[in-house]
């Protein structure tokens, strides 16, 4: 195998192409707010903006890596994309259809096309049912296979995630973490989706098993023409699998661009600090650090700064950053960054 299949979709998604293909997902001004507390004392009610006015597009065949620290809103954004959360504002288009405000009943048939894989497959597999039943369930619900076809389809699904057919007789507790995640992926594949949103799908696995699952994600993408939104806090994994990367901070995308541009020449100080903080085993030595963040706590999403949201932790912050919120715009180097004074 060469590197070409990995890089192929990237070239196809270059914005300069004359006949620009239609994005599979287009989010504009996507916002999700939660109201917390105040069930007894309404005065204590607080509004928490988990996803704040986020706009981006995902082209067919692309893998968009969504990275950021805990609480940055990356999982909430993933759940908004699959409409597991209702949106508080903004538009969401999937395959040309506006799905941002579809009622659940009309959303249902679309669910086959946009599936989700979760971090903990143990929590999403019913322990009392055999693997075969768990894989048959989505097929029955969406009437995608007649009873006579189901068995063959299950064997096919197990084969596509590299598990033997006799696994259909087993129960989830008999499987290892990696095998359970394979079942989680097979379940998402069952409905032949166009988009898979994977939320930290490898972070609970041992490194040797993690590599197998990352490879599997890449193989399946090429085989079934899948588009991924891949959410992870592990930047090395995201770099391996993604064609584009979006970096989130306090509910907003602060930088988005081509995977190589983001990793080699980040323009936003937060992206740089994040990359700087990762220990690298392949260096074989202590990493020289330049952009270490001050020990300050990140502000909470209930209290987002009025200016640049990264300003309180940013070494480059100036007066303008406190007053004026930077917009996500093109910087030379190929990425879009929300920063007045990019690197």
């Amino acid at each position: 195998m060469t590197a070409m299949p990995l890089l192929g979709p990237l070239a196809a998604a270059a914005p300069a192409a004359a006949a620009e293909p239609r994005p599979l997902v287009r989010a504009s001004g996507l916002t999700k707010r939660f109201v917390t507390g105040g069930s007894w004392f309404p005065s204590r009610r607080r509004v928490l903006t988990a996803v704040d006015d986020v706009s981006f597009a995902v082209m067919p065949g692309e893998t968009l890596g969504l990275v950021g620290e805990s609480g940055c809103g990356k999982s909430t954004l993933g759940r908004c994309l699959t409409r597991l959360h209702d949106l508080s504002g903004g538009r969401l288009e999937f395959d040309g259809r506006d799905i941002g405000a579809l009622p659940m009943r009309r959303m249902r048939p679309l669910r086959a096309e946009l599936q989700m894989v979760f971090q903990d497959p143990h929590a999403s597999l019913n322990p009392r049912r055999r693997i075969g039943d768990l894989l048959a369930e989505p097929l029955r619900v969406h009437r995608l296979a007649s009873p006579s076809e189901i068995e063959a389809r299950i064997a096919e699904l197990l084969a596509s995630v590299e598990l033997p057919a006799d696994f259909s007789r087993r129960y989830p507790h008999e499987l290892s973490g990696g095998q359970r995640q394979r079942i989680g992926i097979a379940r998402a594949l069952a409905l032949r989706p166009k988009l898979i949103v994977a939320d930290e799908p490898v972070s609970a696995l041992d490194v040797s098993v993690q590599a197998q699952i990352v490879n599997l994600f890449c193989d399946l993408r090429d085989r079934f023409n899948l588009t991924y939104v891949f959410i992870a806090h592990d930047l090395a994994v995201v770099r391996q699998i993604s064609t584009r990367v979006a970096v989130m901070y306090l509910g907003a995308i602060v930088e988005i661009g081509d995977v190589d541009a983001i990793f080699e020449a980040p323009r936003h100080p937060y992206t740089a600090a994040l990359l700087d903080a990762i220990p690298e085993p392949h260096l074989g030595a202590r990493k020289a650090r330049s952009a270490r963040l001050p020990g300050k706590e990140p502000p909470s999403p209930a209290n987002i700064p009025a200016g640049c949201r990264f300003e309180p932790r940013c070494a480059r912050a100036r007066d303008r950053c406190r007053k004026e919120r930077p917009r996500l715009e093109a910087k030379d180097g190929g990425t879009l960054a929300a920063c007045h004074f990019p690197l």
Binding site: S176, D206, C218, P281, G284
Partner: protein
Amino acid sequence: MPAEPLLQIRDLSVAFRTERGLVRAVEGVSLDVEAGRVLGLVGESGSGKTQTLLSILGLILDPNAVLSGSVRLDGEELVGMPHRRLRRIRGARAAMIFQDPMTALTPVHTVGWQIVEQIRAHSSLSKRAARDKAVALLAECGIPDPARVVERYPHELSGGMRQRVVIAMAVSCEPRLIVADEPTTALDVTVQAQILALLDRLRRDHGTGIVFVTHDLGVVSEIADTVAVMYAGRIVESGPVQALFAAPRHPYTHGLFNSIPPLRGPRPARLTGIPGLPPSRGAPEAGCAFAPRCAYAFAPCAARPPLVPEGGSRVACFLPRETKQGFRRAGEIAA
């Protein structure tokens, strides 16, 4: 008498009696930690790294555990030491940091109260002096506004702040040894970098020896001086970090490096990784535990390979020297 290292573990074995027979969680582990040095103990789930760590402080309390071997701290044997005496060592001369800081913190008292209790259990400081010391410790651990944080309850603090509080507690009695079980695994990378810098400062300023258990080879390269890689209850390779990272000699260590995607340089089309699954039931009775997953396994692997010196490290593998020298770190092109 020749100088003995701060911590000396010799031939440590931990087994558990279960309904399905004896499970060998740790088998024949020998390790040394010098004062002011950091040992990184690496392994995947079920490799026995946590059981090794717990047995250092006599924290394996399961009545079905069978423990043998020797653990000496400053020349004093800890295996078989009565609990009453162990309690005086724990917290004072050797402290532990867990992955989840809430393991070590009670939710019903302020963090100040908890640090003061810890200090007063092992010293004769007055309440007021202990409290001043708690504030100073929190400041040293990089907590902003420590005088206010001592009044807080653990639930009011973030994960990174809680872990700093636990570290402040661990160092409060100036222990000679800190054993840390995945202390940064649950934290964000930016916070992890701060905690690692903090531990590094502690060992430099106070000469504390640290045993740092992790599954993350990147963290090891950041903080450790020496590293021991465990697989199925045994050490398969150990040595100085630079030597071992520059040229891993054991196929398992090599496989671990190949499982981690590089952060710079060309991206491999596929990660080489390691086929199969880590064993879940401890060390096998005979043979090399890694052989079933090893691409290089050959006839001699049916016997158990001893851990022997080779190229600055120690390796438990029968493969010829030349084969092992051919192992390269993934992403090396980048360097």
